[in-house]
Symmetry: C6
Subunit: 100 residues, 6 copies
């Protein structure tokens, strides 16, 4: 599972993410301070999405490539501290679940 | 074959699963206590689906990624004990069938 | 090439298979005693389909995943003895053809 | 590159191939004595198709899976001797071109 | 992650890129002096796109293959010096993020 | 990156290529003396297309499989000497760029 954080994402970067979000064009996402990205197997992404959703101060979106296959990506929007905290939770949770 | 259990899944996580379930928007799934996830080859998933279907107290759905390829995912909804019991049956059955 | 047999397949399992059969919703398949599943490369599947078709007492269907790629799956419906006999023929035929 | 020959192909096997041929439902293929199958990379298939087309007494069709990726399959229809002769030409040509 | 630079790209090459750009046919891209190409995992591409967007004097487009899977490509248009500078930033940024 | 040359391509082979060319059915390609084929990653194909376009006496087309993924193929049409010359340029250019 790959994890990345983009601080102060540019407008074009947000446009790439918004064009591919799974929920369709529902309520607008206000320009975030940071974006956390998570890429892995579908089953890992669903678990990561659940951990991120339960974290405070972030919005979670699943991102599709044109044909993302087993590679769905998760984008986590929010202020920098909240995004970093959510990403750490995902990293820890992923390791815990592998030992299941 | 990968197996994961999510306890008290969040609303957003259930939305990701429901957007991709193979049966279409038929009868509503009531918010479950737990969700078991199974990811593997198509042939493994069909066998796992059959074992899960014969287990007690769970609902089985096949989940599509945008292009899940040989990677279809199975979601097993129910109370925590029933989901855990179904997941153990799948894990055992998978090993038994590999020896066939 | 992977081979599996499901005895007394559940209704939900048959629904997953029927939703994906390549021939479309033509004549109905009566609920079978057993289902044989075969997964492999497209070229192996076509050879297996031919062997299964020439076997007695079984119905053969090709199953698509959402994007099955080189992974098409074959489902062989029938009474338990006929399905097992057809599956053995496929297993032997596969080995013979590899030596060609 | 994988090569297989099916002698006296069954009706269902021909139906699987016809459902997927790239040329669409143009002139009917009369039921052949034999079918040669060739599976490999797109670039190998195009070279094989050219060799088969220049062979005598066979009809060549490119077969698509639902999402055959770099795996397109070639079906070569004809009497048994012509199909076997075309398949040998493809096997030899493939080795010659690898040395280019 | 693969990086390439094409100097004075031909008309046909630009046509291949324009046919596949993710933003659709919005404002025209004037024929550039150079094109930088970046290919990698979706998560790497989003990070590279953000770095390129913050660089001076270049336009960034995400390029889709027909089914690019986890392989989305980024095209960076501009004068030769700006494109080379942006590509160096991406190369460095990619290494820094791997250490995260 | 795979490279192949077909001399005096047959009518059926040209039909397979024409059915899949990315530019759609624009101006007709006169039957060529030779066809050069190039298969590799999307980023390699774009660089090869640029080199081929700048070569003399050849026409370049990008070829799609049904789902060519990171595998797009390039077809280079022309007289035998021009096609061979363009293919050599691509082979050399590919090696030079790998060292970048």
């Amino acid at each position: 599972m790959d994890l990345r954080i983009i601080k102060s994402p540019g407008e074009g970067t947000l446009a790439i993410l918004k064009r591919r979000k799974g929920s369709g064009p529902r309520e607008e996402i206000p320009t975030p301070d940071a974006v956390g990205l998570v890429q892995g197997k579908l089953i890992e992404m669903v678990c990561a999405a659940d951990l991120a959703e339960k974290a405070v101060g972030v919005t979670v979106e699943d991102i599709r490539g044109s044909c993302p296959q087993n590679m769905i990506m998760l984008a986590i929007f929010g202020d920098t501290a909240s995004v970093m905290s959510a990403m750490e939770t995902i990293e820890k949770g992923s390791k815990a679940q592998e030992e299941w």
